[in-house]
């Protein structure tokens, strides 16, 4: 089948990854239909095609920095979302599992964090169409993922390119007999680690010390050895054996240590081994003029926490048609339906937080269901209801139907000139139903305080674009040009109703609303629009010297009416040295290339309507009647505009003996007009405002190495990547005044000359001893007592005040890396994948939240409190203060942890059966494998489940724990 290079470029939007074999003598190209690149000794004749913005390029011609992940590298891993395939695979692409909750996306950062308040997430493109994320695409359907890293590559996406572009290309149909393939895996997940909280005996010791101290301080003559009865008499209790009357601030439970109360490890009850499974069936094939790829997939993952989980059905149909020699058309439809269920587990005040802080002792009669249904609250515990009961009895289902659809028509106006028009749509319908029954049946009747809610979110996105493509070769000169226009419209509407109080708890849906009181009833709508024009020219001379330039003009409704439009330009160049005459016949040199590119692009990833000053309700009453009032709630900024990133990229590529491939990229990325939701003086009447302030610079080095170490019967391949990134704030506002961020705006700082979101904390350096108190050389907080936290007097003024807070590290790692080895012998193959990071800090807000004895002994705290300071003679671990100290509320470095970790992310052992054997079963390519995910991890993180689970400011309020997965899988074709 003959095809010009031009149409190849255009069709690749829909035909996806192709390994084009170019026959140099004829200049003709033919498709090679194998999905997998076949290793070849004649690489100069076989060139990999790389997907770039609005088209494709042969790898040798690429002037920018593009990273790539093939399906091969993740096909055996238990990944629920395509995002997870990127972890540790491409230098400069950092993923973080900010939540281990099933179905949750990973956070992806390309070349560091450049933005403060606007999103740092890359733009996603699925088969040439901009998408919101990769949730619609089943990992099994993915052929490859490319990440465009440098500004020159991403500038074609203009105002959205500054955080990198992730391009997903799916498997396409090929001419020939239909090929069915089936794959499935099943696995068991267990919790990666438990948090070290105090055991029941440690808690009893802790509560006893605290209560006795209070009792002794209450009145002269009181002694810690006073019995329960003595204390009961002091408080005039009617009964000395009814423990539900006890004054728990001063009385210990005499049953502690006996078998008359239940001792509970809440984490063991809360988390469970959970299943994960995936099934996919696909068929691909076609005739000369029609090709199709159809697949159906089902994925189901139970959550580690009780009664939580996620499942998803994916369908996909992609059809490409040659209508005539000149006309082509195609359509792709990807519906998916997913359900996630279960109570909110991770985050502040959600069930994991409550569970961890639950007292590990309960009444025997109540056990795990303490303070639940008709069970009494354990008198010495807080009013938290059993998290086990809450998880088991809460209904919280989110059902989402998503449809990603696109179609295109293409026409060859001239042999070298093609016009293509395409339309795409994303339609998501999301419905959340939740029902929280009445848990306390001692003071309530069923239904009395039950809450039901229903939220619907409709999201619709429409995209239209027209592209004109030209490509021509004149002797040694090749030119390719592209011009395009696109318009996109995004609209979200949502409706939310929440009612309280029902006749009973029999019906767990949003119903009986006539008898309920309305807590929420609201509707919101939000819309934005982007209009763009763009053009690009590529030129090369003898495949040796490559030049390219592009320009894009974007208009976005999100910005101030004075600044709707922005223009973004880029250029790039490359020199393929190995194509020079003097090197051309050196067979040991398979590739030698230098690249340079520069580009400017933008970030408009803030909410809608940020430029407007708006009003909200602020009511009052006169004469006993409500008076509707309105108050200004946001401040206008008509000048709000893009965040602009200019970056340069220097690339070096070296290939030796067709066995070693090395790539190095150095980049300087400077972001100006940072979009920042900046604190402003309250004296304006507002506390925050969206502004363009300041600039941030990221510089970095990325190294990728892949080698074929052994190529005989026993094969051994290695791929390794590492990325170093330096981040520095260059300027802030007009006066460079620092900006305080993080938890309550008191844990982090954005300051010129420092890394973004550096930690700015009191530095805890130990515990004050009695002699320290009188030592004037040791600075103390006001009112400090022995056993309080000792802080570093950073400014040396002899006092501990807020001026002693100082910068201690930042969330940005020094470097992060991935390292994969694959071995194969006969039918067996083994892959071992490590990844990790060095440097950076995490701040464990969850650890802090359950680490404050100031909150009383009615909760449990971190396990280090078993080693607390008790006296000068018994100072504990030297870090944990006394339980009744005065320094409890300061945000200090006791919860700051080095985020360095090394993780054995995956080990997979597979076996491919011999063809003769399986052919008897009328199948082919039969493969079985076992895979272990999140096998092992070494880190320094104590105050939370997962050192990766931090927000962009480096803080973690208790993410869902990660799962270790043990799984087996099976694939075959028929």
């Amino acid at each position: 089948m003959k095809k010009s290079i031009i149409t190849l470029g255009i069709l690749l939007n829909t035909t996806g990854l192709v390994f084009a074999q170019e026959e140099q003598t004829t200049g003709k190209v033919k498709d090679q239909d194998t999905i997998q690149p076949s290793p070849s000794n004649k690489t100069k004749d076989i060139e990999e095609v790389v997907i770039i913005a609005y088209g494709t390029q042969k790898k040798g011609e690429v002037t920018g920095s593009v990273g790539r992940v093939n399906a091969e590298s993740f096909k055996d891993r238990p990944i629920a979302r395509v995002d997870q395939a990127l972890t540790g695979q491409i230098a400069g692409v950092k993923t973080r599992a900010t939540s281990g909750k099933p179905g949750e996306p990973l956070e992806i950062r390309v070349r560091g964090t450049a933005s403060i308040s606007a999103s740092n997430s890359p733009l996603y493109v699925v088969d040439g169409m901009v998408a919101d994320d990769m949730a619609n695409v089943s990992p099994d359907d993915v052929q490859s993922i490319e990440v465009l890293k440098d500004a020159a590559s991403t500038a074609m996406y203009g105002s959205r390119g500054s955080n990198g572009i992730v391009i997903v290309t799916t498997k396409k149909g090929v001419s020939g007999k239909p090929s069915f393939s089936f794959s499935q895996y099943y696995g068991v997940q267990t919790i990666e680690k438990k948090l070290d909280i105090m055991t029941s005996s440690e808690w009893i010791d802790y509560a006893t010390e605290s209560i006795n101290k209070r009792w002794v301080a209450l009145a002269p003559g009181n002694s810690a050895s006073d019995s329960y009865a003595v204390r009961a008499n002091y408080f005039n209790l009617a009964n000395t054996t009814n423990y539900n009357l006890a004054n728990v601030n001063y009385m210990v439970d005499p049953r502690w240590g006996t078998d008359q109360v239940a001792y509970i490890d809440w984490q063991d009850a809360f988390y469970r081994p959970a299943s994960i499974q995936n099934y996919q069936l696909s068929v691909r094939g076609g005739s000369k003029d029609v090709k199709y790829a159809i697949s159906a997939a089902y994925f189901d993952q139970e959550g580690l926490a009780l009664n939580t989980g996620f499942n998803r059905y994916n369908l996909s149909a992609v059809v490409d048609i040659n209508i005539s020699d000149k006309w082509k058309a195609g359509i792709a439809l990807r519906p998916s339906y997913s359900q996630s269920y279960g109570a909110a587990v991770d985050g502040k005040d959600n069930e994991a937080h409550k569970m961890l802080s639950m007292v590990p002792v309960a009444e025997l009669s109540a056990g795990l269901y303490t303070n639940f249904w008709k069970n009494d609250r354990y008198r010495w515990a807080s009013s938290s209801q059993s998290s086990i009961g809450v998880l088991e009895n809460t209904t919280n289902n989110t059902n989402e139907f998503r449809l990603l659809s696109s179609l295109y028509m293409s026409y060859d106006i001239l042999p070298n000139l093609n016009f293509k028009i395409s339309g795409g749509a994303t339609n998501n319908f999301n419905l959340n139903n939740s029902y929280t029954p009445t848990f306390n049946l001692i003071t309530n009747i069923p239904g009395q305080v039950s809450i039901a809610s229903r939220r619907t979110v409709n999201y619709n996105r429409y995209l239209g674009e027209a592209l004109l493509n030209y490509k021509k070769t004149f002797g040694s000169h090749s030119v390719a040009a592209l011009a395009g226009y696109s318009a996109e419209n995004y609209r979200t509407t949502s409706q939310y109703n929440r009612n309280k109080g029902f006749p009973n708890d029999d019906l767990k849906t949003f119903n009986f609303t006539q008898s309920a009181s309305v807590l929420n009833s609201e509707y919101t709508a939000s819309e934005w629009m982007l209009v763009s024009m763009f053009g690009r020219v590529n030129y090369d001379y003898k495949k040796k010297y490559m030049l390219f330039a592009s320009i894009r003009r974007d208009g976005s409704s999100r910005f101030g009416w004075n600044n709707l439009w922005g223009t973004f330009a880029a250029f790039g160049s490359a020199w393929k040295i190995d194509e020079e005459e003097f090197l051309k016949d050196k067979t040991w040199l398979s590739n030698l290339k230098l690249r340079y590119s520069w580009g400017e692009n933008g970030n408009n990833n803030i909410g809608d309507y940020r430029a407007f000053g708006t009003l909200s309700g602020g009511n009052y009453s006169f004469g006993g009647n409500l008076s509707n009032g309105l108050i200004p709630n946001t401040i206008a900024n008509p000048n709000l505009t893009w965040e602009k990133t200019q970056s340069s990229d220097f690339g070096f590529e070296l290939g030796l003996f067709n066995r070693i491939d090395f790539t190095a990229d150095y980049y300087i990325k400077k972001t100006n007009d940072l979009l920042l939701q900046q604190p402003i003086p309250y004296a304006t009447g507002y506390n925050i405002m969206w502004k363009n302030v300041g600039s941030v610079q990221n510089t970095g080095l990325e190294l990728d190495l892949s080698t074929k170490n052994l190529t005989g019967a026993f094969k051994w391949n290695t791929s390794a990547n590492i990325a170093f990134n330096n981040n520095k704030v260059l300027q802030l506002g007009s006066d460079n005044a620092p900006i305080y961020t993080g938890f309550s705006n008191t844990t982090n700082i954005i300051k010129v000359g420092e890394e973004l979101n550096s930690f700015y904390l009191y530095e805890a350096i130990g515990v004050l001893s009695t002699s320290d108190l009188t030592n004037t050389g040791i600075a103390k907080t006001v009112g400090a007592i022995a056993g309080d936290v000792k802080y570093k007097d950073f400014n040396g003024d002899g006092k501990i005040t807020e001026d002693d807070r100082h910068i201690i590290g930042s969330p940005t790692p020094d470097y992060y890396w991935g390292f994969t080895n694959t071995f194969s012998y006969k039918g067996f193959d083994l892959s071992v994948f490590f990844q990790g990071q060095k440097g950076g800090y995490s701040y464990a807000l969850l650890g802090r939240a359950i680490d404050r004895p100031g909150m009383g002994t009615t909760t449990n705290v971190m396990g280090n409190w078993a080693n607390r300071w008790r006296s000068d003679a018994d100072p504990g671990d030297g870090k944990t203060p006394r339980l009744d100290g005065t320094t409890g509320s300061l945000l200090d470095t006791r919860w700051l942890y080095d985020a360095t970790y090394i993780q054995l992310k995956n080990v997979t052992l597979g076996y491919n059966f011999e063809q003769e054997l399986v052919n008897k079963l009328k199948i082919s390519n039969l493969r079985v494998y076992v895979s272990l995910e999140n096998v092992w991890r070494k880190d320094h993180y104590y105050g939370g489940y997962n050192p990766e689970s931090v927000q962009s400011d480096g803080t973690d309020y208790g993410a869902y724990p990660n799962a270790k997965v043990y799984m087996m899988g099976l694939n075959f074709n028929f």
């Binding site: 209009v531 009003l615 108050i631 807020e802």
Partner: protein, 511 residues
């Protein structure tokens, strides 16, 4: 079953979405410019540009100015923040103890607060919100057509009064504060430093004086609670009297205070009413009857209820007459009334049981001896939300006008003229009158004691201690008696400017 459903719905959706995408694509063939489409305005919010243009909108904006006093950021409003936490809790009327962590009220009561204490930021933010709401209204009201120009003057006067009032509360808490009288952008705001007290007093008194003419003496039933002329005079009396004391010590303010207070007293029977019984003063059924300026509260789940009663009293058991079904903020005795306040009441004072509950029945059915304010906690009211009490909170009571007037008379040597005002309050409380031949010094002592018990729990006493400059000795003595390990100086009369505001605007800090 599920799969079939999906199939049909996706086909329907799909045809619609694709045709829309195609139309858009075809439009682009003609390179139709979509620039006009880019001017998208919010659908869910009214924008400031389009608002403030009709009489009704101004009226609603004015309700917004008032609203800052009740539901600013859902933190209890001015009654909780300015009058309870920043004022009453600061004084020795409260004895906060900390059983469950370091709460702001504990830090305030024990003088351990810092510039990072959240409560200080709440005060600063809430008052400046009220000021900015008023600034926005005042900057737009002139361009708005009104059916009756007198209505415009009334609205303008109310906004000017409320703006000055918010400044006055800021000044009492923080001293110097930046004076801003029109909408400003952040760059302008951070250039405005903290303004000296004399200038601030000048501004707020002249503003309120200018607002009097536009206000009404009495409003119809549907508008009860708006600022009256009496409220403006009484507020001026309080402001001038405060300015005549510590720290400004402007003696020329005494006469001005006296004039304004006397104007209020002259209106008794016509515009203001002296309640026959102390018990009548704190009932929601008597809202807008006796007080001169009160924060309006109504219950019914409208976010207009009062937080205060649940803030200062514990959960009572169902056997207690104060049981209210929904409980309180605290389950234990954290914000207790000090013994020193209880001891200040003379024997037989009818106000003591109406103000303080000295024993109660707890949720476990057992009696408890902890002591709490119940002044605003009405018996027999069953709530569905503990922050939904219907009772108004008095900012200035007529009794305060009478006692301030008596205080001025006494300071000017007219002690015998002052005595009847004091006795009127005492006799209603069931106490014996003081002699008309009492010495000026003894009168001062009697009046100060009377103010403490009459206004206990209302956020008056602490500001009295400051303007009399007796706070240092009173607090230090009380702390010593309780063996608390702190002493205060006059620096502690003011709170620290919130750290967040110093960081963002570069203000100087209080000593």
């Amino acid at each position: 079953m599920k799969i079939t459903t999906i199939n049909t719905s996706f086909l329907q959706l799909n045809m619609k979405s694709l045709s829309k995408a195609l139309i858009c694509g075809i439009m682009m063939l003609g390179m139709v410019s979509c620039e006009d489409d880019l001017m998208l305005e919010p659908e869910n919010n009214i924008t400031q540009n389009s608002f403030y243009t009709t009489e009704l909108q101004i009226q609603q904006a004015l309700s917004g100015v008032y609203s800052a006093m009740v539901n600013a950021s859902s933190r209890g409003g001015y009654d909780v923040n300015f009058y309870l936490l920043a004022s009453e809790v600061r004084s020795n009327n409260f004895n906060a103890i900390s059983q469950n962590g370091n709460r702001d009220y504990y830090a305030i009561n024990r003088f351990q607060d810092t510039s990072s204490t959240d409560e200080m930021e709440i005060l600063w933010e809430d008052a400046y919100q009220q000021i900015s709401y008023a600034n926005m209204l005042l900057s737009r009201i002139d361009a708005v057509p009104f059916a009756d120009p007198a209505t415009r003057e009334q609205y303008r006067s109310e906004a000017r009064f409320l703006r000055s009032y918010a400044y006055f509360e800021l000044m009492r808490s923080f001293g110097k504060v930046p004076l801003i009288d029109k909408p400003v952008i952040p760059e302008e705001a951070s250039k405005i430093p903290r303004t000296d007290l004399a200038t601030l007093y000048n501004f707020i008194t002249s503003e309120i004086e200018a607002s009097i003419a536009g206000l009404k003496n009495v409003y119809d039933a549907a508008n009860k609670g708006r600022i009256t002329k009496s409220a403006a005079h009484a507020m001026l009396g309080r402001i001038y009297l405060t300015g005549s004391g510590y720290p400004l010590n402007n003696s020329s303010y005494v006469a001005k205070a006296k004039d304004h207070l006397f104007t209020v007293i002259q209106g008794e029977g016509q515009f203001v009413t002296f309640a026959p019984n102390y018990a009548d003063l704190f009932k929601s059924t008597n809202d807008n009857k006796f007080h001169i300026f009160e924060i309006q509260h109504i219950s019914g789940g409208l976010s207009q209820g009062s937080y205060l009663p649940s803030y200062v009293s514990p959960n009572f058991g169902s056997a207690d007459p104060y049981y209210n079904a929904q409980g309180s903020l605290f389950s234990s005795a954290e914000l207790g009334v000090s013994q020193s306040l209880i001891d200040t009441y003379e024997t037989g004072d009818l106000r003591l049981p109406l103000t303080i509950k000295t024993s109660f029945i707890g949720t476990n059915g057992q009696p408890d001896q902890a002591k709490f304010f119940v002044k605003f906690r009405e018996k027999g009211i069953v709530l569905t939300n503990r922050y939904d009490w219907p009772i108004n909170f008095p900012i200035i009571r007529y009794e305060d006008v009478l006692l301030m007037y008596a205080e001025i008379l006494n300071s000017q040597g007219a002690t015998s003229t002052a005595v009847p005002y004091l006795n009127r309050i005492r006799q209603r409380a069931g106490l014996t009158p003081v002699s008309t031949s009492i010495s000026a010094a003894d009168f001062t002592t009697a009046l100060r004691k009377e103010r403490r018990v009459e206004f206990a729990g209302e956020g008056v006493y602490w500001h009295d201690l400051v303007r009399w400059n007796t706070g240092v000795s009173v607090i230090n003595q009380a702390a010593a008696q309780l063996n608390y390990n702190f002493t205060i100086t006059t620096n502690d009369y003011l709170y620290q400017v919130p750290l967040s505001q110093i960081q963002v605007a570069g203000y100087d800090q209080n000593p």
